[in-house]
Symmetry: C2
Subunit: 486 residues, 2 copies
């Protein structure tokens, strides 16, 4: 039975306080997914408060997705993500009443409950979150976007009313092709591009295109959502270990896989950049059999902070073996559900023959607005601004790390490729203990080992530092708390 | 080799005229899908025009999806839909220079080439189109929608930046639940609703939820896109014949199917409304085994023109066996890619456990705007206006049919359920010939037999009259041409 004392509720109303207490118990997993909550009447009686108060608290929790109701049965705790619970940055002391923008990253299966954050929701349990690899929505160019949306409404009012081609409107595909040429050196025809509502949706299309009777290989360690999607689609999924250059060719051959899904330009979570020699080996592997393909997931190539971007696999592929996939959720905001893939001509023809009966999943409003946003140079400006922003953020974190008394006990790795780096710790503690210590200090963090499918290969004592969601004014304290905890 | 004379090009530029000629050859299938076009240089030489002219024409055709390019090979004619070629209404004589709104229906796999209609594109080959079951986009409440979009931008600017829960924002799900209660008599919790970018996307989620190792039954005759989606997802699909009440229970039992996908409130294309007795038989069938479910596709229930709407299967289901699915593409416009499904509680819990890692595919802008549109009563008003509009349109068509000299040779059936009816013709001609005669008269039309999977069961000599895309001022002439052709 839930028991809460209302002695410390402060200025909160009874309902607000109860809501926050239950929410905290869900976030900290005192209440576990699937667990039934007491009936409103029972809890009200237990806590000596009115049923209406409990009802209000439950309604709020249900509205935010922390709990769900089963008619004629009651309320249950909602599902949690399997990998690292993503909890929003807490601003216990620093919060100045402003509403927090609870952006969620494209690459993190976030706590469903965490996806709706309300104004009144100001207390959380962590001071800083190095798990949630979001790009802060406060950086979304809202004013520009709404200006372009208004322009679209007035200047494209007729176009908007026409059905989009299955692969997306030509203006957007053309703008993406130009953008890829200018900023990624890729020579791509607009006709090769398929636009969809998120990379997850596009993965589903790729499976329909390439077939379910294949083995799909993913990287181990890797981003677990990708294998979850393959599993949800009943596709055999093989976890291939990495060596120091990326996916091991021997292990890949051994897996029997036909399709390889990788992020060669910036692997998550190791940060590894696959060198050109291995890229050619991978292309050679793919070219050895008709049914082999490589899905190149280039999700944060825009944010490489040092040196020239690595050329995409797609651009050195002459055998029509690479499906390039990228998203605007990372560079813009997860609110804009637009991703795209570049298909080799033969697959694009197959798409047109077999799958173009599908309607495009992105609304015309968003497609025309994004086309303008790219065409008028706003995307480039935005990415440049964001790159400077993240570089400054990373530098601040690195500086604070280096100034900390415990700096000799840690090693910083892979800090230039994108929006995360690794922090290896000299310690006797096991990873679970390391994470727990950090959590006690108010720091939400994950270890590299958590992203391994085969635990025996896992590197231990290495934190994955996703810094894109940390606010600049919290860096010093967050780094201090983390370093003190180890 | 293509040969065109430029003698009749009128005011068109050379490029425009060439573009139109080739397009017409593609639409009329003189040029067939996959056929290679002559090289730009060869065609230019052949027609004694410049290569630039050919290049411009090809580019335009490629941009509109009529043809596609294969690098280092050339241009090819793009794929055509398998069922009834949907060609936009032609207004040869009546067109007064206004831009046509080339809306495309949610229920018709349209000619990909037809999905991008440009201003200059005013000549087509049909006077009227009874195949394309679109709702005209001219009826889309554009002014209201953009007003609400502006309100959303200014009033929900913070909310828009937060990631939507997987199943959709609460405001929209709540508005849909209220709407279903008021206008469909359904008692549904917002927590049971999953919002997605189109019904096609939701079908894919349902397959992931219910599993691929099941047999999915669809109606025969039926809307072929549904079975195409099951096939694209590698799911066994069984075509179950209908009797006078709907899906035959004996045939359903015999099919071995676990999942039944139906439109009991208005079957396409027969127009059949499944009576309550058969609905209970269907629910009884479903309740006989744990793994059985019914997908109730209620796609145009709003447009029943006579009498009370039939209660949804979902609302008489007490065994958690019905997945209700509907779309706003039909009632609003295919430009708005928002559909939803109502899951029984047990399936919703499974969704939350297994599939809520998926990000919602609808942008927050569209979700908040639609929530306002429903909440503020605009959807109700719009549907009422549309219902009156369609009733008037149908009445005009029926009146003209009845006044025609050949009226004694035809029988009108199922004219009250939704946006199409059947026209049975007393004739010796076979269906193929009937359609061809109509096409010669400038009328694009399909026969009931074209929607059958098992042709031996097919009713012949029956036209399917999709009238929602016909413009009022064309009714008299369209009906005259059709009737004269038989």
């Amino acid at each position: 039975m839930l028991t809460y004392s209302f002695d410390h509720k402060g200025k909160d109303t009874l309902y607000e306080y109860l809501y926050k207490q239950i929410k905290q118990d869900i976030i900290t997993r005192k209440l576990v997914p699937g667990e039934k909550l007491p009936s409103k009447r029972a809890l009200a009686k237990q806590l000596d408060i009115s049923t209406i108060t409990v009802e209000n608290a439950y309604s709020q929790l249900a509205a935010e997705g922390y709990i769900y109701s089963v008619p004629k049965s009651g309320f249950y705790v909602a599902a949690m993500p399997e990998e690292g619970t993503a909890v929003r940055i807490m601003k216990n002391t620093l919060l100045q009443g402003q509403k927090q923008a609870g952006a969620a990253g494209q690459k993190e299966p976030r706590l469903q409950a965490d996806e709706r954050i309300r104004q009144e929701d100001k207390n959380d349990i962590f001071f800083a979150d190095f798990v949630n690899n979001t790009t802060p929505s406060a950086n979304f160019p809202f004013t520009t976007w709404t200006k372009l949306m208004r322009e679209t409404m007035s200047e494209n009012s007729q176009d908007i009313m026409m059905k989009s081609p299955s692969a997306g409107i030509y203006e957007l595909r053309s703008a993406i092709a130009d953008y890829l040429y200018q900023f990624r050196g890729m020579q791509v025809e607009p006709e090769q591009i398929v636009v969809g509502a998120g990379t997850e949706y596009l993965y589903g299309l790729i499976i329909q295109l390439l077939g379910r009777d294949r083995i799909y290989a993913v990287e181990d360690p890797g981003y677990q959502k990708i294998s979850r999607i393959y599993q949800a689609n009943s596709v055999s999924c093989s976890h291939v270990p990495l060596d120091e250059k990326g996916v091991s060719i021997a292990a890949l051959e051994h897996s029997g896989a036909d399709i390889l899904h990788i992020s060669p330009s910036h692997h998550f979570p190791t940060g590894l950049v696959t060198p050109v020699s291995r890229r050619y080996e991978l292309l050679s592997w793919a070219s050895q059999s008709d049914g082999r393909y490589i899905i190149e997931d280039d999700y944060d190539s825009e944010f490489r902070l040092l040196g020239k971007p690595i050329p995409a696999l797609q651009s050195i592929d002459v055998s029509e073996k690479v499906i390039y996939i990228n998203t605007f959720s990372k560079s813009l905001s997860s609110t804009i559900r637009i991703s795209y893939m570049v298909l080799p001509d033969s697959l694009m023809q197959q798409y047109q023959r077999e799958l173009s009966f599908y309607a495009c999943t992105v609304s015309n409003f968003d497609q025309y607005t994004l086309a303008r946003f790219i065409r008028d140079g706003y995307l480039e400006k935005h990415i440049n601004r964001m790159r400077n922003f993240y570089r400054a953020l990373r530098d601040a974190i690195l500086t604070d790390l280096r100034q900390h008394a415990k700096y000799p006990c840690v090693h910083i790795r892979e800090e230039n490729a994108g929006l995360h780096f690794l922090l290896e710790v000299e310690t006797e503690l096991d990873d679970r203990e390391l994470v727990k210590q950090a959590e006690k200090a108010g720091i939400h963090i994950s270890c590299l080992s958590q992203y391994y499918y085969n635990q025996e290969n896992a590197d231990s004592h290495t934190f994955v530092i996703n810094y894109s969601g940390i606010e600049a004014e919290h860096v010093k304290e967050a780094v201090g708390r983390l370093m003190d905890s180890i």
